[in-house]
Each structure stands twice: as C-alpha cells, then as structure tokens.
Assembly symmetry: C2
Homo-oligomer: 435 residues x 2
C-alpha cells in the first residue's frame, strides 16, 4: 500500500528524472547591450550547468525594462526547465528586475528580515555602520521567493517556482555570481534533481586546416554513437574537436568518449597535441611538468600576455621562472644584452633581435626554454617603420632556437597580441611533443 | 507633378528616417551555450552600432539547429529593424545557418559565381591551390541575398531584406567579423539610412561606494533631460557613470553631455578621475603623457597582467619602459635585489618584499614610477603558507612609496589577477591626480 509519503516521494522522483534538462540564461543590463561590458557570467554559468548535465539552450540579453523582463521570463519558461537571470539587482536607479519578478509571479515585494540581518552583518563586516535606505531596499524580495544569501555583495539571490520549473535571480557582478552558482545553486540542483550527465572531451589538433580535417575524419564522425555530438572550435591555428556525450551513467559516457578518441589516432594521430586538457596553457603545463623543463619569456609587442598566459595555469610556479617585458629598446640592450649593432643593422623588429632576446632571456632566468617576441601590435607603425601586424618570435629549447615570422595586418591590437601568444604556445607544444 | 523617381526617392527618405533604430543580434553556436567560448562579437557589434545611433535591444544566443534559427529570426524581426547573426557559417558539419536563412526567407541556395571567384582567389593567396568540395559549398548562398565578401576567411556575409528590414549573416570568427562590420556593414548602413545619433560619455568615480554615490547625485539625476539616460557600471572599486544621449544632431548631444557633466563637479568633483576616457589604462596613459612620467612594473602574483594592461593602450611605449615577472623567489633576489634577509624574516608575500620589489624595479628600468605585486592568486596556498587571495602591492612615485594590502579570498585566480591589477592602476591614477 502506498502511504502519502511514499507516493509523494515517488512523484518527486519522477519529477526529478523528467524535468531538469534545459536552462535559459537571461542577462539583464544595458551595459552589455551598449557594448560597454562583455558578458562573462553566461559563460561561467553555462560551464557549471553543463558539468551537472543541464544544457543551456538559450542566452538572452535584454535591457533593464520591466515589460521586457516579464516578456523574456515568459519566453524562457516556455523552453527552459530552469531560468537563471543575472543583473539588474544593484542598489541604484537603473535596476528593475525585482519589480518585474514580483509582477511576473503575481507576487508582492516585502522586507525579508533574515535577508536584512544578513545584509547588516555583511556591511558591518565591511566597516559600513550606516545602512542607507537604498541598501535596506535590497532586503525587499518577492514574498514567494526562497532567498540564497549573497556573501560577497549586497543583492540577495532569489529562487522562484512555477509549475515545477525554477528561476534564480542573481546580481550581475561576476565575483558575486561565481560563488552563488558554485557553492549554493549547483549543490541545490544536484540534491533536488536526478540529472542526466554530460561529459565532454576536447581533442586539440594542430597543423591541419579545419576543412581538410573535416574531410579526413568524416567517416569517423558519421559513425559516432547517437548520444555523442561533435563540434569544431578553431582557436588561432589550432582546431579543438569537442565531443559531448549525454546519458544517465557518467562512467559509461567517459568510456564511450575514450573509445571514440582512440579511433581518431590512426587517422590524424600525428596532429593531435592533447585529448584531455582544453586550454593550451594547461597542455603546456602538463608537458613541462612531465619533462621537468623550466621556461621564461622576453616580450616586446605581446606586452606580458605570454607570461600571463603561462602563469594563468595554477601550479605554473613549478616551471615558470620569470618573464621580462623590455618595452624600451634600451632595456633590450641593458637587460637582455641584445647587441646595438644588430639593432642598427636589422632594426628592433627583426629575426636577429628576436633570437638575441631569447638568448638573453635564457641567460637571465637560467631556464631550459625561452620565448621571445618583437613586433608591431599597432595601430601605429613601429618606431623603425615596420608594418603593423608584423612579429618575429623565437622559441629556444636548450641550445636550439627557431625563429618564426607572422604577418597579420587585419588583426586589431588586442586580437594580435592574443593570437600571437596562443600561436607561440601552440608551436612550442608542437616542438616539445615531437622531441 | 510627381515622377516615379521623385516619388520613390521621397518614400525612400521617409523610410530612411523612420526605420533603422533597433537591432537584434543573434549568436549561433553551441560553443557559446556550452561555455567553451565567450561571445566577444556581440560586444564589438553593439559598440559599432551604438556609434552610428542604432541601439541593440536584444542579444540572443542559440544553438545550431535549423528550427531554432528560424524561430529566432522571426522573433528578432518582430522587435528589430536590423538583425545581425554571427556564427554557423564555417565549412564543417555543425553549421546550419545558411539552410535556415533560405527556408526562413522562402528562398533557395545556389552557387554564386562572384563569391566562388572571390573564394578561389582568397585561397590561392593563402597558398591553397586545391579547392575542396566543402569550400565550394561556402560559395552557395540564398539567391535573394546580397553578398558582402569576406577578405579574411572563407564564409561570405549575406544580406537579406524583408518588409524594409535587413538581416546580415556573418561567420563567427572575431577577426573576420570585425572588418566585415567596420569596413562594409557600418558604411552601408550610414549611406542607406538617416540615423539618430547616440553619444556617450563616461565619468569615472573613485573613493565612494555605488549606493552612497547614487544618493549624492540623486537630484542631479532626476533633473537630467528626457533624451539622456544614466547607468552605473562598477569596475573593481571604481564606478563608471555612463551618460547616453540620443537625438538627430550629434553636436547638440555633445554640448548637452558636457553641460550635465559640468554640473556634477560641484557635487562629487573630488571623486571624479576622468570624464572622457572610459578605460583606466587610457586614463593613466593621458595623465602620464601630460605629466611626462615614465613607469615600470615588477609583478609576481599578477603574472604580467599589469604590464599587459598598461601596454594595451596604443602609444604606451612613450611612458612604459618595461616590466618584469620574477616569478621564482630567487629571481626577485637576483634581478630586483630584494634582500634574502627580508624574505626570510617576513616571507616573500609581505609588505617589505613588495616595497623592495618596487625599489628594484625603479632601479632596473630607471623610471619615475614603479609598481610591484606579491601575493597568492590560488587556488593553492603560497609556498610560504600565506592565504589565497592575499596580496601586497607598492606604488612608488619618484621617492615616495606606498604599500597596500588586499585580501580577496572569494575571487578565483583569474578574477583576482584582474581585480588587483585594475585596483592598482586606479590607486595610481588617484595618487597622480591629487598631486
């Protein structure tokens, strides 16, 4: 016989299995629509949701207007089981999300005592004794909402429910969003729902253009199991093949992915530089750690991006000894001992200077590997009249150095620096794995 | 009497005035929904459109599915006069945009000879003589489309029209998107439409929290003219006030904006660090150039972000002499002459080491100003056991150095590095403008 409790639990479990598959993210804020701010929250949230098997089907960025927010909530609930909004919860005038939430859910806004206490304690901790009326307003939430307290800001996160679907409304500041998602919302979703797992593997391929690659692996791709999907993501001159598997058993997915990746090796094995790590700086980190090699950088036109890229990998202090950005020509001479004669003869943006910079860098930091760049990131020409988009870079491994030239006049300053740095690390990885 | 021509021109002009105000951007690609890639195209396009007076009212990111693309196009045309799609035009299997476009516009796809010729020439220039079937497919476009040739990739940009509304479909690669927008689409729109101008000014405010700032300028804000809008954009500890003015005469808008900004000075003048430049590295660049000061950096936990930030401003070679990232402790000793005794006594993450790093940096690069950082970006603790999120930084201007401590354990590695670097430059700007 069924007791109510068993029955409820049975229904809840059915609900658990059926309902939490698709999410819609809503980003509220004119600063993104106007191009003032890049939306990085959606990227973070999508990744976190993917890891627990929830697929983001849409990301919609809208302006801070009550009617627009309400219409978009309606649309989002039509396609998503889960709706996450970010933005529009600050203490200032241009924030209307809370009002829209209350109207949409046919609710009212009232002071939540627990939230107000939390807010007071938060502000006291930060040395702000006086609570402004504006801050007090932040403790007003829709009465039907469940509040997830924000430990790194003044705007609370509110959960609402409708027909078994959920919405969470978060502030827009990235470092408030991250802990709310990671420490509170993800654990909550994992506890409440039986989720379908999604596993992803990325195969990094170099030395082969996307269209030729696609031809070579066409048969393999067509033979992939139903629950696996393939995407091509070009980054610089590398192509990332992303394989995504969906299913109820995480272990099965991982075995499936490994099997399919193994089948790739007979076809394009020599072009594969990694099958587990996604980011090139992580791939490099693994190789350097394994081979017990140290590295240093001497950068001119890349301005510090190379050292930032290498050190962005946690644990990089094991192999990255140091970097230098001798921006002024005199510093290339003084610190890296690039010869003045070479600069006079070939100019500072030249193969010869790149090579001497790498030599000087290796000497300065006493490393197995050194990388150097000299070029013109633009938008103005180099002081020696060299063209925008031209760069020479040297990769020196022990006693052997190779210098490369790239000319990418169509890239703007920022893209140029990014592309060149990615390419250098890709080339280095290519050199190291073929040793 | 009206000739047909005059009448057509009259109607066209009416249409010019009325129709091009709102744009909807559609980003097509599973790599963004899955969190693999951050969408930077939308940010670029939104900025460019804003500059010619077209407001982006929505940005929608969707997956590479024909039905979804068609539905979203329908939705977008309901609210936007202009629809720009990016992504889904590559040579590989996961790209379905073109098919969706043709179906949506009740059209067919056919080989476009001019596009094919352009594609062949493009590939020959890049040393690829053999044209694959996949590449030839890229020259197939909807027959009703107007093609804008892509000079930096193989996928053409297609313009379609419906009831006087326009859509442009672009590939997803940022360095292909930028020139297509800037060199072709923006000039086209400017020529075809009488656009309402949008002017923006950003006032950067430091040393005052967002909620208190809002209270102090409330009266000023309420008295703003109808066609001006205000937004608050917090960045690190700085608040950017963005004033946007819309109207037919660009000069009038600029005078309006300047007037309103002048009224802010009696209220919060001492907290305003800039009223024309938006980015802190540009603000710094202006001040350094004006005061004829040079600068250098010595970074540990920020890994090169400070030097990258400073050099990201074109023309920074006039004041940025160089930077060093002495990641290994020994290099702080060898190159910057930080004393071993100090490190032993206070550990490497300490006020004293930050100060000595700034001294050593100033000596090495012979600059007026030096900046230094030593801290623990995480996720692991520092080698001396210091907590994640702790950083000491020194700002040294001529002979005076000030050392600051920050503790931000809630930030992840990347946000920590970004926040700290922004804060240091903000602090430096604060110091320099009050001198």
């Amino acid at each position: 016989m069924f007791t109510t409790e068993i029955f409820t639990s049975f229904v809840w479990n059915l609900f658990k299995i059926k309902r939490m598959q698709n999410a819609v993210l809503i980003t509220i804020g004119d600063e993104i629509l106007s191009g003032n701010t890049v939306d990085t929250n959606s990227n973070f949230i999508a990744t976190e949701l993917k890891n627990i098997g929830i697929k983001v089907s849409q990301i919609i960025t809208i302006s801070d207007e009550i009617e627009t927010i309400k219409e978009t909530l309606k649309l989002a609930f039509e396609t998503g089981d889960l709706v996450i909004t970010t933005g529009g919860l600050g203490p200032t005038r241009d924030d209307k999300t809370k009002k829209a939430l209350a109207e949409f859910f046919d609710d009212e806004i009232a002071l939540d005592e627990a939230t107000f206490e939390h807010l007071k304690a938060y502000m006291e901790r930060r040395g702000r004794i006086e609570i402004l009326e504006r801050n007090r307003e932040q403790a007003f939430v829709p009465t039907k909402s469940t509040v997830f307290q924000n430990h790194y800001g003044t705007a609370p996160c509110m959960m609402m429910q409708q027909n078994g679907k959920l919405s969470f409304s978060l502030p827009g500041v990235p470092y408030e969003v991250k802990p709310l998602i990671k420490d509170q919302i993800i654990p909550y979703l994992k506890e409440k729902f039986n989720l379908n797992y999604i596993s992803t593997r990325i195969v990094s391929v170099v030395g082969i253009p996307e269209s030729i690659l696609a031809d070579e692996i066409e048969e393999w791709e067509l033979a992939l199991p139903e629950n696996l999907a393939l995407s091509y993501l070009p980054v610089g001159t590398r192509v990332k093949l992303r394989l995504t598997a969906t299913g109820p058993d995480e272990n099965v997915l991982q075995i499936q992915l490994e099997n399919e990746i193994q089948k790739l090796f007979p076809i394009i094995g020599k072009n594969i530089i990694a099958t587990s790590e996604d980011k090139i700086e992580k791939i490099l980190g693994e190789i350097l750690s394994e081979k017990k090699l140290t590295i240093s950088t001497a950068e001119s036109c890349t301005g510090g991006e190379l050292s930032l890229l290498i050190t962005s990998n946690p644990g990089s202090s094991k192999y990255f000894i140091g970097g230098i950005v001798p921006y002024a020509t005199q510093k290339k001479i003084d610190i890296l001992h690039v010869s003045e004669g070479i600069i006079e003869r070939f100019t500072v943006v030249s193969e010869e200077v790149a090579r001497e910079m790498a030599d000087g860098c290796q000497n300065l930091f006493k490393t197995d590997i050194s990388l150097s760049t000299t070029g013109v990131a633009g938008p103005g020409k180099g002081e020696d009249g060299k063209e925008v988009g031209l760069v020479y870079y040297t990769i020196k491994v022990k006693n052997e150095s190779q210098t490369f030239k790239l000319y990418m006049p169509h890239l703007d300053r920022q893209d140029f620096i990014y592309f060149v740095s990615q390419k250098i690390i890709q080339d280095l990885v290519g050199i190291l794995i073929n040793q």
